[in-house]
């Protein structure tokens, strides 16, 4: 399911009501992230990502509540703060879509740090940027 402008607006409203990004001094990927995957005609341009860290692996979900795309694998290379996320989803016709997202964490020291890079699947690709909320 494509995430709608309306639902994104609701999410932003809720997050906005909470205020600025809460501090997060633990694993840099843990938290809720909002941003865009540009030119994504399969799941829309706006994206929500929730990531967690259990001490051994990063897990998470993309567009919770709408697309509910479980993250199959996510890694962080702390040498370059490089992030790689893979996830399997379906397009509107039920065809399998495999996402590959690659980027780096910027403004690492800030609560509202962001990840910038690219996304791609068999049917498209584009710029990817999400900021921690």
């Amino acid at each position: 399911m494509r995430i709608s402008t309306w639902s994104l607006g609701c999410a932003l409203l809720v997050l906005g009501a909470v205020g600025a990004a809460s501090a997060q001094e633990g694993h840099p990927l843990k938290g809720s992230w909002i941003g865009t995957w540009e030119s994504n005609e399969t799941h829309g341009e706006f994206v929500l990502v929730v990531l967690d860290w259990d001490g051994e692996r990063v897990s998470g979900i993309i567009n919770p509540g709408t697309d509910n795309i479980e993250i199959a694998e996510a890694t962080l290379d702390p040498a370059e703060w490089a992030v790689r996320i893979e996830a399997d989803a379906e397009d509107r016709d039920g065809n399998a879509v495999h996402y590959m997202i690659e980027g780096t964490i910027e403004d690492l020291e800030l609560p509202n740090r962001f990840i910038t890079g690219t996304w791609q699947h068999d049917g498209g690709s584009g710029a990817f940027e999400i900021r921690r909320q």
């Binding site: 633990g26 702390p78 020291e109």
Partner: protein, 377 residues
């Protein structure tokens, strides 16, 4: 610079404390000085005082300085009023109109701010606002710890013994026992290559620790946002803490002299970790949830349920919400509290590890009234 690594026996700890107090580069400031001010940019200014701002967490003197054809106003940052007053200084030590010469290091952001390493009155040539927090000399023979009627050592005051608080920690940043690295009192390593020795960090945690060190600890949320000094950090401030034993209700209150004068409760009544805060046991806290028991004269405390919104030590070692602390408090004698903490955090470390240090008793005094306030630097 001073060695932050601690030795558990008291003689070494006293020596370390004395060295810490005498080291010329040691500061006790609210924020890591080198995070805000650049140690490579020395400057000496002479001018006239225009205003004295005597407020926590740092006092400031403003002065007009003639530079070329201009007269520019500079802010001179000093230690906290608490520490200045403890050394005999006051808001009236210098007044508007007094001529002074300031030597120090300037702000990294290019603003007209200088950390006042040395301030000399032009009229008398006397140096003012020097701060030394040297611990009082230990007694020639240790005096025994005060005891409750049942014979157990008291961690604080008793009905019959004078009250006070614990201060002069022999360590100001967390380092695994047995590791010998050199860092300043803010936990800034002298050699960044030592980072991997400080504690058994996972790769991401080590990289984050190095990043924080590389930025001279300027991102420390305790200083930026007045976040509480949760975890072992609460026992590493020279503003100290008080241990109040409520024996009737089987709990120990930890009252902090630093941060925002927070407190923490250690329950000794046999309760479980869950459901201690209004049943909201899923809500992680800055100080976690603590239960404890006595092993002879040692209070053993098990604390879990930490959030990730703070640094649990100076120097920037990371932790996660999986952090669990086993703390051991032992009053070895009247003047000495031995503190040992075992850190278990499989989210950030590859194994559990232990650090220990000592604190000195400050009898007959209340905790310093230090507040991180005013949204000031």
């Amino acid at each position: 610079m001073t060695k932050a690594h601690m030795y558990s026996h008291s003689t070494a700890a006293m020596l370390a404390t004395a060295l810490l107090a005498l080291a010329p580069e040691t500061t006790f400031a609210h924020h890591p000085i080198h995070g805000k001010f650049d140690p490579a940019s020395d400057l000496t200014l002479s001018g006239v005082v225009t205003y004295v701002d005597w407020r926590n967490p740092h006092a400031h003197i403003f002065m007009n300085v003639g530079q070329g054809d201009e007269t520019l106003n500079w802010a001179v940052e000093l230690e906290s009023p608490i520490d200045l007053e403890a050394n005999g200084w006051s808001e009236a030590t210098v007044r508007p109109g007094d001529a002074i010469t300031v030597a120090g290091i300037v702000a990294r952001d290019g603003t007209r701010q200088i950390w006042g390493d040395s301030i000399v009155r032009s009229d008398s040539g006397s140096r003012v606002f020097e701060v030394s927090l040297e611990a009082p000399p230990p007694p020639l023979a240790p005096r025994p710890a005060p005891r409750w009627p049942d014979g157990r050592a008291a961690l604080g005051g008793t009905a019959d013994a004078i009250d006070g608080y614990w201060s002069f920690p022999s360590a100001t940043a967390l380092v695994e026992d047995g590791v010998d690295v050199t860092m300043n009192s803010s936990g800034l390593l002298e050699n960044l290559d030592d980072a991997g020795s400080v504690a058994p960090m996972q790769p991401w945690a080590l990289a984050l620790y190095r990043h924080r060190q590389n930025r001279s600890l300027r991102d420390d949320p305790m200083y930026l946002n007045c976040k509480p000094p949760g975890g072992p950090r609460q026992y590493m401030s020279h503003h100290g803490f008080q241990l109040i034993e409520d024996r009737e209700r089987e709990r120990v209150f930890v009252l902090l002299g630093s941060g925002n004068r927070n407190y923490r409760i250690i329950y000794l009544d046999g309760r479980e970790h869950v459901g201690q805060v209004g049943g909201d046991d899923d809500n992680p806290l800055y100080y976690g949830r603590s239960v404890g028991n006595w092993e002879g004269d040692t209070l053993v405390v098990d604390t879990r349920g930490f959030n990730e919104d703070f640094w649990f030590t100076s120097g920037g070692l990371p932790h996660t919400s999986q952090l669990r602390l086993i703390e051991r408090f032992t009053r070895a004698d009247l003047e000495t509290l031995e503190y040992e903490v075992t850190i278990e955090d499989p989210g950030a470390y590859t194994r559990s590890w232990t650090s220990s240090w000592t604190l000195r008793w400050v009898g007959g005094e209340d905790l310093p009234f230090h507040l991180c306030q005013h949204n000031r630097p």
